[in-house]
Protein backbone atom coordinates (compact mmCIF):
# COMPACT_ATOMS: atom_id res chain seq x y z
CA UNK A 1 0.00 0.00 0.00
CA UNK A 2 2.71 2.42 0.99
CA UNK A 3 4.62 1.82 -2.22
CA UNK A 4 1.58 2.24 -4.43
CA UNK A 5 0.85 5.45 -2.62
CA UNK A 6 4.44 6.51 -3.05
CA UNK A 7 4.01 6.24 -6.80
CA UNK A 8 1.05 8.62 -6.61
CA UNK A 9 2.99 11.07 -4.47
CA UNK A 10 6.05 10.98 -6.71
CA UNK A 11 4.03 11.19 -9.93
CA UNK A 12 4.78 14.79 -10.70
CA UNK A 13 8.14 14.92 -9.00
CA UNK A 14 11.18 14.85 -11.31
CA UNK A 15 13.87 12.27 -10.38
CA UNK A 16 11.45 10.41 -8.15
CA UNK A 17 14.04 7.75 -7.40
CA UNK A 18 15.98 10.35 -5.42
CA UNK A 19 13.16 10.72 -2.99
CA UNK A 20 12.43 8.42 -0.07
CA UNK A 21 9.04 7.76 1.39
CA UNK A 22 8.69 7.46 5.15
CA UNK A 23 5.62 6.56 7.15
CA UNK A 24 4.41 9.09 9.67
CA UNK A 25 1.12 7.59 10.73
CA UNK A 26 -1.17 4.65 10.10
CA UNK A 27 -4.78 5.02 11.27
CA UNK A 28 -7.89 2.88 11.27
CA UNK A 29 -6.09 -0.15 9.85
CA UNK A 30 -8.33 -3.15 9.32
CA UNK A 31 -7.16 -6.55 8.22
CA UNK A 32 -10.29 -8.31 7.11
CA UNK A 33 -9.28 -11.37 5.12
CA UNK A 34 -6.23 -13.59 4.81
CA UNK A 35 -4.15 -13.18 1.68
CA UNK A 36 -2.69 -16.43 0.39
CA UNK A 37 -0.40 -17.54 -2.45
CA UNK A 38 -2.26 -17.30 -5.76
CA UNK A 39 -4.24 -14.18 -4.75
CA UNK A 40 -3.97 -11.08 -6.89
CA UNK A 41 -3.93 -8.01 -4.68
CA UNK A 42 -5.44 -4.90 -6.23
CA UNK A 43 -4.44 -1.89 -4.16
CA UNK A 44 -6.27 1.40 -4.47
CA UNK A 45 -4.87 4.56 -2.93
CA UNK A 46 -6.89 7.76 -2.88
CA UNK A 47 -5.65 11.14 -1.73
CA UNK A 48 -7.70 12.34 1.22
CA UNK A 49 -6.26 15.83 0.98
CA UNK A 50 -3.90 17.58 -1.45
CA UNK A 51 -0.19 16.95 -0.98
CA UNK A 52 1.36 19.80 1.03
CA UNK A 53 5.03 20.22 1.93
CA UNK A 54 5.70 16.62 1.02
CA UNK A 55 3.07 15.22 3.37
CA UNK A 56 0.79 12.67 1.71
CA UNK A 57 -2.51 11.66 3.34
CA UNK A 58 -4.21 8.71 1.66
CA UNK A 59 -6.97 6.17 2.06
CA UNK A 60 -5.71 2.70 1.17
CA UNK A 61 -7.92 -0.23 0.24
CA UNK A 62 -6.65 -3.64 -0.83
CA UNK A 63 -8.93 -6.01 -2.72
CA UNK A 64 -8.72 -9.64 -3.70
CA UNK A 65 -11.48 -10.08 -6.28
CA UNK A 66 -14.47 -8.04 -5.14
CA UNK A 67 -13.66 -8.36 -1.43
CA UNK A 68 -11.83 -5.82 0.68
CA UNK A 69 -8.96 -7.65 2.43
CA UNK A 70 -7.51 -4.67 4.24
CA UNK A 71 -7.83 -0.92 4.53
CA UNK A 72 -6.04 1.90 6.32
CA UNK A 73 -5.41 5.64 6.38
CA UNK A 74 -1.75 6.30 5.63
CA UNK A 75 0.20 9.47 6.24
CA UNK A 76 3.64 9.53 4.70
CA UNK A 77 6.32 12.05 3.91
CA UNK A 78 8.47 12.18 0.82
CA UNK A 79 11.98 13.47 1.47
CA UNK A 80 14.63 14.22 -1.10
CA UNK A 81 17.94 12.61 -0.40
CA UNK A 82 20.73 15.10 0.21
CA UNK A 83 22.95 15.67 -2.85
CA UNK A 84 25.96 13.78 -1.50
CA UNK A 85 23.84 10.65 -0.83
CA UNK A 86 23.92 7.72 -3.28
Amino acid sequence: MAQTGGLLALRNVPHGEQWDTFFLKIDNARFKQFVSPGDTLVIKMELISPIRRGIVHMQATAYVGNKIVSEAELTAQIVKRSSHGS
Binding site: F31, F34, L41, V42, E46, N66
Partner: protein
Protein backbone atom coordinates in the same frame (compact mmCIF):
# COMPACT_ATOMS: atom_id res chain seq x y z
CA UNK B 1 -27.69 15.10 -14.79
CA UNK B 2 -29.18 16.83 -11.77
CA UNK B 3 -32.41 15.76 -10.10
CA UNK B 4 -35.61 17.54 -11.09
CA UNK B 5 -38.95 18.31 -9.49
CA UNK B 6 -41.93 20.42 -10.56
CA UNK B 7 -42.00 24.15 -9.93
CA UNK B 8 -45.49 24.34 -8.40
CA UNK B 9 -48.39 22.04 -7.65
CA UNK B 10 -50.93 20.98 -10.25
CA UNK B 11 -54.03 18.74 -10.22
CA UNK B 12 -56.12 16.53 -12.42
CA UNK B 13 -59.48 14.89 -11.73
CA UNK B 14 -61.16 11.90 -13.25
CA UNK B 15 -62.72 8.49 -12.75
CA UNK B 16 -60.97 5.28 -11.77
CA UNK B 17 -61.31 2.65 -14.49
CA UNK B 18 -62.12 -0.25 -12.20
CA UNK B 19 -63.70 1.47 -9.22
CA UNK B 20 -65.77 3.96 -11.20
CA UNK B 21 -65.05 6.53 -8.47
CA UNK B 22 -64.30 10.22 -9.04
CA UNK B 23 -60.85 11.04 -7.69
CA UNK B 24 -58.55 14.08 -7.51
CA UNK B 25 -54.81 13.74 -7.97
CA UNK B 26 -52.46 16.61 -7.03
CA UNK B 27 -48.79 16.62 -8.00
CA UNK B 28 -46.55 18.56 -5.62
CA UNK B 29 -42.86 19.50 -5.68
CA UNK B 30 -40.69 17.27 -3.48
CA UNK B 31 -37.16 17.54 -2.03
CA UNK B 32 -34.06 15.79 -3.38
CA UNK B 33 -33.81 12.01 -3.08
CA UNK B 34 -37.54 11.83 -2.27
CA UNK B 35 -38.52 9.87 -5.37
CA UNK B 36 -42.18 9.35 -6.30
CA UNK B 37 -44.59 8.82 -3.44
CA UNK B 38 -48.39 8.66 -3.22
CA UNK B 39 -50.37 10.01 -0.27
CA UNK B 40 -53.95 8.90 0.46
CA UNK B 41 -55.31 12.18 1.74
CA UNK B 42 -58.76 10.71 2.26
CA UNK B 43 -57.55 8.20 4.84
CA UNK B 44 -56.79 8.86 8.49
CA UNK B 45 -53.11 9.50 9.09
CA UNK B 46 -52.58 10.39 5.42
CA UNK B 47 -50.58 7.21 4.69
CA UNK B 48 -47.65 7.52 2.31
CA UNK B 49 -47.24 4.80 -0.31
CA UNK B 50 -43.82 4.90 -2.02
CA UNK B 51 -43.71 3.93 -5.69
CA UNK B 52 -41.45 0.97 -5.12
CA UNK B 53 -41.54 -2.58 -6.45
CA UNK B 54 -41.64 -3.99 -2.92
CA UNK B 55 -45.01 -2.29 -2.44
CA UNK B 56 -46.77 -4.07 -5.34
CA UNK B 57 -49.63 -6.30 -4.21
CA UNK B 58 -51.40 -6.90 -7.50
CA UNK B 59 -50.80 -6.76 -11.23
CA UNK B 60 -54.22 -7.90 -12.36
CA UNK B 61 -55.25 -5.38 -15.04
CA UNK B 62 -53.03 -2.64 -13.71
CA UNK B 63 -50.43 -2.25 -10.99
CA UNK B 64 -51.56 -1.78 -7.39
CA UNK B 65 -49.33 -0.52 -4.59
CA UNK B 66 -50.06 -0.97 -0.89
CA UNK B 67 -48.39 -0.56 2.47
CA UNK B 68 -51.12 -2.55 4.21
CA UNK B 69 -54.83 -2.39 4.90
CA UNK B 70 -56.67 0.35 3.07
CA UNK B 71 -53.47 2.25 2.32
CA UNK B 72 -53.32 1.34 -1.34
CA UNK B 73 -53.43 2.95 -4.75
CA UNK B 74 -54.14 1.15 -8.00
CA UNK B 75 -53.65 1.77 -11.72
CA UNK B 76 -50.51 3.78 -11.04
CA UNK B 77 -48.64 2.88 -14.21
CA UNK B 78 -49.77 5.71 -16.49
CA UNK B 79 -49.06 8.32 -13.82
CA UNK B 80 -45.61 6.91 -13.10
CA UNK B 81 -44.83 6.67 -16.81
CA UNK B 82 -45.63 10.38 -17.18
CA UNK B 83 -43.27 11.27 -14.32
CA UNK B 84 -40.41 9.19 -15.76
CA UNK B 85 -41.19 10.29 -19.29
CA UNK B 86 -40.77 13.94 -18.37
CA UNK B 87 -37.43 13.15 -16.71
CA UNK B 88 -38.59 14.01 -13.18
CA UNK B 89 -37.06 12.56 -10.02
CA UNK B 90 -38.96 13.87 -7.01
CA UNK B 91 -42.72 14.39 -6.89
CA UNK B 92 -45.37 13.90 -4.21
CA UNK B 93 -48.71 12.66 -5.53
CA UNK B 94 -51.71 13.36 -3.34
CA UNK B 95 -54.77 11.27 -4.12
CA UNK B 96 -58.15 11.20 -2.41
CA UNK B 97 -59.25 7.76 -3.52
CA UNK B 98 -57.98 4.20 -4.02
CA UNK B 99 -57.43 4.35 -7.77
CA UNK B 100 -55.60 6.81 -10.01
CA UNK B 101 -57.92 8.36 -12.62
CA UNK B 102 -57.89 6.70 -16.04
CA UNK B 103 -58.48 10.04 -17.87
CA UNK B 104 -58.30 9.20 -21.60
CA UNK B 105 -56.56 5.87 -21.07
CA UNK B 106 -53.12 7.37 -21.68
CA UNK B 107 -50.55 9.54 -19.87
CA UNK B 108 -51.45 12.64 -21.86
CA UNK B 109 -53.42 14.52 -19.19
CA UNK B 110 -50.69 13.82 -16.65
CA UNK B 111 -47.88 15.04 -18.91
CA UNK B 112 -49.92 18.13 -19.83
CA UNK B 113 -50.56 18.99 -16.19
CA UNK B 114 -46.97 18.35 -15.12
CA UNK B 115 -45.56 20.31 -18.06
CA UNK B 116 -47.78 23.27 -17.24
CA UNK B 117 -46.38 23.23 -13.71
CA UNK B 118 -42.88 23.74 -15.04
CA UNK B 119 -39.71 21.92 -13.96
CA UNK B 120 -37.03 22.89 -11.47
CA UNK B 121 -33.46 21.61 -11.39
CA UNK B 122 -32.28 20.61 -7.93
CA UNK B 123 -28.76 20.57 -6.48
CA UNK B 124 -28.03 16.86 -6.17
CA UNK B 125 -26.90 14.68 -9.02
CA UNK B 126 -29.20 11.91 -10.19
CA UNK B 127 -28.10 8.43 -9.27
CA UNK B 128 -28.72 6.11 -12.22
CA UNK B 129 -29.14 2.38 -12.35
CA UNK B 130 -26.62 1.48 -15.03
CA UNK B 131 -27.12 -1.82 -16.77
CA UNK B 132 -23.67 -3.33 -17.27
CA UNK B 133 -24.63 -6.85 -18.30
CA UNK B 134 -27.62 -8.57 -19.89
CA UNK B 135 -30.50 -9.10 -17.47
CA UNK B 136 -33.51 -11.05 -18.64
CA UNK B 137 -36.82 -12.37 -17.45
CA UNK B 138 -39.11 -14.81 -19.21
CA UNK B 139 -42.52 -16.12 -18.28
CA UNK B 140 -42.94 -19.37 -20.24
CA UNK B 141 -46.66 -19.47 -19.56
CA UNK B 142 -47.56 -16.10 -21.05
CA UNK B 143 -44.59 -15.77 -23.37
CA UNK B 144 -43.69 -12.41 -21.83
CA UNK B 145 -39.99 -11.65 -22.02
CA UNK B 146 -38.01 -8.59 -20.94
CA UNK B 147 -34.33 -8.02 -21.55
CA UNK B 148 -32.09 -5.19 -20.35
CA UNK B 149 -28.88 -4.45 -22.26
CA UNK B 150 -26.11 -1.93 -21.58
CA UNK B 151 -26.67 1.49 -23.17
CA UNK B 152 -25.66 5.06 -22.45
CA UNK B 153 -29.31 6.13 -22.24
CA UNK B 154 -32.81 4.83 -21.53
CA UNK B 155 -34.31 3.34 -24.67
CA UNK B 156 -37.07 0.80 -25.16
CA UNK B 157 -38.64 -1.46 -27.74
CA UNK B 158 -41.97 -3.22 -27.20
CA UNK B 159 -43.31 -6.06 -29.30
CA UNK B 160 -46.83 -7.41 -29.01
CA UNK B 161 -48.55 -10.38 -30.56
CA UNK B 162 -52.11 -11.04 -29.60
CA UNK B 163 -52.76 -13.83 -32.11
CA UNK B 164 -55.74 -11.85 -33.31
CA UNK B 165 -56.56 -11.10 -36.95
CA UNK B 166 -57.02 -7.44 -36.04
CA UNK B 167 -54.06 -6.66 -33.81
CA UNK B 168 -51.64 -9.26 -35.18
CA UNK B 169 -48.09 -8.25 -34.34
CA UNK B 170 -46.92 -4.73 -33.67
CA UNK B 171 -43.84 -3.06 -32.32
CA UNK B 172 -43.02 0.36 -30.95
CA UNK B 173 -39.70 1.94 -30.07
CA UNK B 174 -38.53 4.92 -28.04
CA UNK B 175 -34.94 5.94 -28.66
CA UNK B 176 -34.76 8.89 -26.32
CA UNK B 177 -36.84 9.79 -23.31
CA UNK B 178 -37.40 13.26 -24.77
CA UNK B 179 -39.76 11.62 -27.26
CA UNK B 180 -42.08 10.32 -24.52
CA UNK B 181 -44.39 13.33 -24.32
CA UNK B 182 -45.43 13.38 -27.97
CA UNK B 183 -44.84 9.79 -29.12
CA UNK B 184 -45.68 7.51 -26.20
CA UNK B 185 -47.60 9.52 -23.60
CA UNK B 186 -50.75 9.92 -25.73
CA UNK B 187 -51.02 6.17 -26.54
CA UNK B 188 -54.23 4.86 -24.99
CA UNK B 189 -54.91 1.56 -23.30
CA UNK B 190 -56.82 -1.08 -25.23
CA UNK B 191 -59.05 -4.06 -24.63
CA UNK B 192 -60.77 -6.76 -26.70
CA UNK B 193 -64.55 -7.01 -26.82
CA UNK B 194 -64.54 -10.49 -25.31
CA UNK B 195 -62.40 -9.17 -22.45
CA UNK B 196 -64.65 -6.15 -22.02
CA UNK B 197 -67.69 -8.32 -21.39
CA UNK B 198 -65.75 -10.49 -18.95
CA UNK B 199 -64.44 -7.47 -17.08
CA UNK B 200 -67.90 -5.93 -16.76
CA UNK B 201 -69.14 -9.28 -15.47
CA UNK B 202 -66.28 -9.48 -12.91
CA UNK B 203 -67.10 -5.98 -11.78
CA UNK B 204 -63.62 -4.85 -12.79
CA UNK B 205 -64.76 -2.09 -15.15
CA UNK B 206 -67.27 0.41 -13.95
CA UNK B 207 -65.93 3.72 -15.13
CA UNK B 208 -64.80 2.05 -18.37
CA UNK B 209 -66.13 3.92 -21.27
CA UNK B 210 -65.36 3.90 -24.96
CA UNK B 211 -63.59 7.25 -24.65
CA UNK B 212 -60.80 6.05 -22.39
CA UNK B 213 -59.84 2.82 -24.05
CA UNK B 214 -59.50 1.45 -27.54
CA UNK B 215 -61.85 -1.49 -27.91
CA UNK B 216 -61.03 -4.09 -30.48
CA UNK B 217 -63.56 -6.44 -31.99
CA UNK B 218 -61.57 -9.59 -32.56
CA UNK B 219 -64.49 -11.37 -34.12
CA UNK B 220 -67.45 -10.54 -36.34
CA UNK B 221 -70.18 -8.86 -34.30
CA UNK B 222 -73.84 -8.85 -35.29
CA UNK B 223 -76.21 -5.88 -35.11
CA UNK B 224 -78.07 -7.25 -32.09
CA UNK B 225 -74.84 -7.80 -30.21
CA UNK B 226 -73.60 -4.29 -30.99
CA UNK B 227 -76.91 -2.81 -29.87
CA UNK B 228 -76.84 -4.67 -26.56
CA UNK B 229 -73.25 -3.58 -25.95
CA UNK B 230 -74.18 0.01 -26.79
CA UNK B 231 -76.94 -0.14 -24.22
CA UNK B 232 -74.68 -1.51 -21.50
CA UNK B 233 -72.06 1.11 -22.17
CA UNK B 234 -74.64 3.88 -22.39
CA UNK B 235 -73.88 4.78 -25.96
CA UNK B 236 -76.46 5.62 -28.66
CA UNK B 237 -74.84 3.19 -31.06
CA UNK B 238 -71.61 1.37 -31.67
CA UNK B 239 -70.01 0.46 -34.92
CA UNK B 240 -66.97 -1.60 -35.84
CA UNK B 241 -64.68 0.02 -38.35
CA UNK B 242 -62.87 -1.73 -41.17
CA UNK B 243 -59.85 -2.77 -39.09
CA UNK B 244 -62.01 -3.94 -36.24
CA UNK B 245 -61.72 -1.04 -33.83
CA UNK B 246 -64.89 -0.01 -32.03
CA UNK B 247 -66.18 3.47 -31.29
CA UNK B 248 -65.80 6.77 -33.04
CA UNK B 249 -62.32 7.77 -31.85
CA UNK B 250 -59.66 7.41 -34.47
CA UNK B 251 -56.35 5.90 -33.52
CA UNK B 252 -53.76 8.45 -32.49
CA UNK B 253 -50.99 6.30 -33.97
CA UNK B 254 -51.04 3.35 -36.32
CA UNK B 255 -49.36 1.18 -33.65
CA UNK B 256 -51.06 2.81 -30.69
CA UNK B 257 -51.54 -0.50 -28.82
CA UNK B 258 -47.80 -1.32 -29.00
CA UNK B 259 -46.92 2.22 -27.94
CA UNK B 260 -49.24 1.86 -24.98
CA UNK B 261 -47.55 -1.38 -23.92
CA UNK B 262 -44.25 0.51 -24.05
CA UNK B 263 -45.82 3.20 -21.86
CA UNK B 264 -46.83 0.52 -19.34
CA UNK B 265 -43.27 -0.84 -19.25
CA UNK B 266 -41.93 2.64 -18.46
CA UNK B 267 -44.54 3.08 -15.73
CA UNK B 268 -43.88 -0.28 -14.10
CA UNK B 269 -40.09 0.08 -14.31
CA UNK B 270 -40.43 3.38 -12.41
CA UNK B 271 -40.91 1.08 -9.42
CA UNK B 272 -37.19 0.25 -9.56
CA UNK B 273 -36.76 3.63 -7.91
CA UNK B 274 -34.08 5.01 -10.21
CA UNK B 275 -33.78 6.23 -13.75
CA UNK B 276 -32.26 3.47 -15.84
CA UNK B 277 -29.37 3.67 -18.25
CA UNK B 278 -30.01 0.71 -20.47
CA UNK B 279 -31.90 -0.61 -23.46
CA UNK B 280 -35.05 -2.53 -22.64
CA UNK B 281 -36.56 -4.98 -25.12
CA UNK B 282 -40.02 -6.11 -24.05
CA UNK B 283 -41.81 -8.93 -25.86
CA UNK B 284 -45.50 -9.31 -25.05
CA UNK B 285 -45.07 -7.42 -21.77
CA UNK B 286 -47.75 -7.39 -19.10
CA UNK B 287 -47.87 -5.81 -15.65
CA UNK B 288 -46.98 -9.11 -13.94
CA UNK B 289 -43.86 -9.65 -16.06
CA UNK B 290 -42.89 -5.96 -15.87
CA UNK B 291 -42.99 -6.05 -12.09
CA UNK B 292 -40.97 -9.29 -11.86
CA UNK B 293 -38.42 -7.72 -14.17
CA UNK B 294 -38.36 -4.55 -12.06
CA UNK B 295 -37.51 -6.72 -9.05
CA UNK B 296 -34.55 -8.21 -10.94
CA UNK B 297 -33.31 -4.77 -11.96
CA UNK B 298 -33.63 -3.47 -8.44
CA UNK B 299 -31.66 -6.47 -7.11
CA UNK B 300 -28.98 -5.85 -9.71
CA UNK B 301 -28.75 -2.22 -8.59
CA UNK B 302 -28.23 -3.29 -4.99
CA UNK B 303 -25.43 -5.67 -6.00
CA UNK B 304 -23.85 -2.92 -8.09
CA UNK B 305 -23.90 -0.57 -5.12
CA UNK B 306 -22.01 -3.08 -3.02
CA UNK B 307 -19.31 -3.30 -5.64
CA UNK B 308 -18.98 0.45 -5.99
CA UNK B 309 -15.40 1.51 -5.61
CA UNK B 310 -13.88 -1.88 -6.45
CA UNK B 311 -11.33 -1.17 -9.16
CA UNK B 312 -11.89 -3.11 -12.33
CA UNK B 313 -8.81 -5.15 -13.12
CA UNK B 314 -8.68 -6.16 -16.77
CA UNK B 315 -5.93 -8.76 -17.03
CA UNK B 316 -5.56 -8.14 -20.75
CA UNK B 317 -5.16 -4.38 -20.50
CA UNK B 318 -1.73 -2.81 -20.90
CA UNK B 319 -0.53 -1.49 -17.53
CA UNK B 320 0.04 2.24 -17.12
CA UNK B 321 3.31 1.56 -15.33
CA UNK B 322 5.21 -1.70 -15.60
CA UNK B 323 7.71 -2.97 -13.10
CA UNK B 324 10.45 -1.19 -15.06
CA UNK B 325 8.60 2.12 -14.81
CA UNK B 326 8.05 1.53 -11.10
CA UNK B 327 11.72 0.81 -10.50
CA UNK B 328 12.56 4.10 -12.19
CA UNK B 329 10.34 5.97 -9.75
CA UNK B 330 10.76 4.17 -6.45
CA UNK B 331 14.06 3.49 -4.70
CA UNK B 332 12.80 0.19 -3.33
CA UNK B 333 14.33 -2.95 -4.69
CA UNK B 334 13.82 -6.70 -4.20
CA UNK B 335 13.03 -8.12 -1.73
CA UNK B 336 11.17 -4.98 -0.83
CA UNK B 337 9.56 -3.94 -4.10
CA UNK B 338 6.01 -5.01 -3.52
CA UNK B 339 4.01 -3.58 -6.41
CA UNK B 340 4.09 -5.35 -9.79
CA UNK B 341 2.22 -2.91 -11.99
CA UNK B 342 0.05 0.18 -11.97
CA UNK B 343 -3.31 -0.04 -13.78
CA UNK B 344 -4.86 3.34 -12.97
CA UNK B 345 -3.40 6.69 -12.00
CA UNK B 346 -4.64 10.26 -11.76
CA UNK B 347 -3.73 13.30 -9.70
CA UNK B 348 -5.77 12.01 -6.80
CA UNK B 349 -5.66 8.23 -6.94
CA UNK B 350 -3.61 5.24 -8.02
CA UNK B 351 -4.38 1.54 -8.37
CA UNK B 352 -1.60 -1.04 -8.24
CA UNK B 353 -1.54 -4.80 -8.64
CA UNK B 354 0.58 -7.32 -6.82
CA UNK B 355 0.41 -11.02 -7.55
CA UNK B 356 1.04 -13.05 -4.43
CA UNK B 357 3.09 -16.18 -4.98
CA UNK B 358 4.29 -19.02 -2.83
CA UNK B 359 7.92 -18.26 -3.58
CA UNK B 360 7.89 -14.95 -1.69
CA UNK B 361 10.47 -14.83 1.08
CA UNK B 362 8.08 -14.20 3.91
CA UNK B 363 5.96 -17.28 3.31
CA UNK B 364 8.85 -19.50 4.39
CA UNK B 365 8.46 -18.40 7.96
CA UNK B 366 4.87 -17.12 8.08
CA UNK B 367 3.76 -19.75 8.73
CA UNK B 368 5.30 -23.11 7.81
CA UNK B 369 2.41 -25.24 6.56
CA UNK B 370 0.00 -22.26 6.48
CA UNK B 371 1.21 -19.50 4.16
CA UNK B 372 -0.48 -16.23 5.11
CA UNK B 373 0.74 -12.85 3.88
CA UNK B 374 1.92 -10.73 6.83
CA UNK B 375 -0.20 -7.61 7.16
CA UNK B 376 2.65 -5.14 7.11
CA UNK B 377 3.55 -6.22 3.60
CA UNK B 378 0.13 -5.28 2.31
Amino acid sequence: MKQHTIARETSISGIGLHTGRQVNMTFKPAPENHGFKFVRTDLEGQPVIPADVSQVISTNRGTTLSIGGDARVSTVEHTLAALVGLNLDNVLIEIDGPEAPIMDGSSKMMTDALSSAGFVEQDSERDYLEITETISFKDDLTGSELIALPSSKFELTALIDFHSPVLGQQFAALEDISGFKDDIGPARTFVFVHELEQLIHQGLIKGGDLDNAIVIADRVMGEVELESLAKRLDKPSIRVDREGFLNTTDLRFKNEPARHKLLDVIGDLALVGKHIKGKIVATKPGHASNVEFAKLLKGFGIEQRKLKGVPRYDVDAKPIMTIADIEAKLPHRHPFLLVDKIIEISDSHVVGVKNVTFTEEFFRGHFPGNPVMPVYFK
